[in-house]
Amino acid sequence: MAEIQIKGVAKRFGAFTALHQIDLTIADQEFMVLLGASGCGKTTLLRIVAGLETPSQGEVWIGGRRVDHLPPRKRGIAMVFQNYAVFPHLTVYENIAFGLRMQKQPQSEIDQRVRRTAEMMHIEQLLERYSGQLSGGQRQRVAVARALAMEPDVILMDEPLSNLDALLRLEMRAELKGVLADSKTTAIYVTHDQVEAMSLADRIAVMHQGRIVQAAPPVEVYRNPAARFVGSFIGNPPMNFLPAKKLGADQFIVAGSAIKGPNASGDIEFAIRPEDMAIGPGGIPATVRVVEPLGAHTLVTTDVDGKIFRAVLDSNIEASCGDILSLVPRADRIRWFDPQSTSAIQ
């Protein structure tokens, strides 16, 4: 049982605040992904949980035990680093056995666990090799096997797939998900890749400028962004935003047409995902700028009141540059944001 609780953690580097008051609870065996652009503080937060960085304030609890004053070796964690950090002077076998030898496990147990995790990561034929003789993907497998062999309560991963090429990344992603689900450890996984985050996570914590903007299951984060940033960061192409002028109690003017919205005191912002629109009468008038057929769909980039507005439409549409389309948003998929606080309005 290893629930992770991050309570009011802040980190300052001199005058720069990397993390503001982070509160996050990660349930036992949950796969939590910290997602954000570079410099948002996600790696710093992971390193604080690992014990490689000390928080300026706040507490970290793992499995009901306060650990923020403990060195990494006493936290019951294992970590996978972005550049693998496979020890170059040791064989793959000794790399995986390293942590077990530190725990003074009996030789038979070490051998058994090394072989089992090596098999799990499909590197059993590489055990006698050195890191210099391995490819990037193989090194990554060694790094994961080394962490899993420890049978930790918590496994921490810092962009483990970012140095791999696209195809290998896809393969490793699926494999990691399976292996980690079987290992029943709590996992924190840092990435800037939203597809990786969506596909792996039980829950995604979207970080922006040292704050957690939203922590929710992937589909929830995608469908109901808690803030404008989440909508614009997640999704490719990102969410569309248009200003909505207040007309009546819950009526707003968006690009010339009246749409029913929430109760708000002033002007707000209208948002819709590109795939949640269809061509039909009485929609948003959009001037086509670029048409990109992608096979399954066609991505149409248009111009609405001087703002870029994208729609993912059926691939049989016939539109060319300069055409004016009438795009009808799906009513249940429209989201509204407060332009001041940028948070979502229900």
Partner: protein, 284 residues
Amino acid sequence: MTAVTNDVPAVPATVTDARKAGSGLMIACIVVLCVWVLLPIYLLLVNALSSPAEVTSFPKRIIPSFDFGSLSFFLNFQGVGKALWNSVAVALLTMVLSIGIGAPAGYALSRFDFPGKEAFRFLVLMTRAFPLPLLALPLAVLFIRTGLDDTAFGLAIVHTTLSLPFAVLITFSLFSGIPVELEEAAWTLGCNRWQAFRKVVLPLALPGIAASAVFAFTISWNEVFAAAVLTIENRTLTAFLLQSINVSPLYLKFAGGAALVVPALIFIFAVRRYLFAMWGIANR
């Protein structure tokens, strides 16, 4: 350039001429430098490997006769054995002291951020700015007072101050070349700071540390001024040769010179890769 078919040169003639002149100048410089360094070594070796009679005769041989008369005379010369032993003892002590002090300093420079780090790096180099004669006299007085004069340990301390900057800078670049993630990985796998250093950093740094040690050894081995001033009875080989150079025959000087130069040359050649690394020059 091969695509040029007609008589028009691809580059104007003046430019080609300038290039030719430039490469000619470079080759000339290289030749001069090589001769500058290699000729004395060559003459030293030829004479050291000739019989005493050949050393004083004329014309000289181009290829030495490989007569070990001079060398064996030198090695059996009164006091040479003891001086040789003193040189080795002082050099070994210097080696241990400079690595013992220099390697931790290099590690700290590469791994920790502390106020005055840049100033410290600069000051480490600055220690080489003081001419040794300036320091030797006060040191001699101090050593006589503390009883360190005429001891191998006392001289080794002075030699350590000479070799320490290099030990610090070589180990600094060495430790900087070892990713900090390797250490962090070791910490997460159950190591404390010292264990991570011993099990991960040290094995990776060991060849470089050995090189840095050999370099410290060579600095001490070659040093003559402090050795001559600070020792009387326990002379090192350099100081011993300096003292007896005027009263000894020519072939003894050559043999002694070769005995000093050859080990130093071999050592420096063996560790050249790490000395280049210290100055940030790409090696291999």
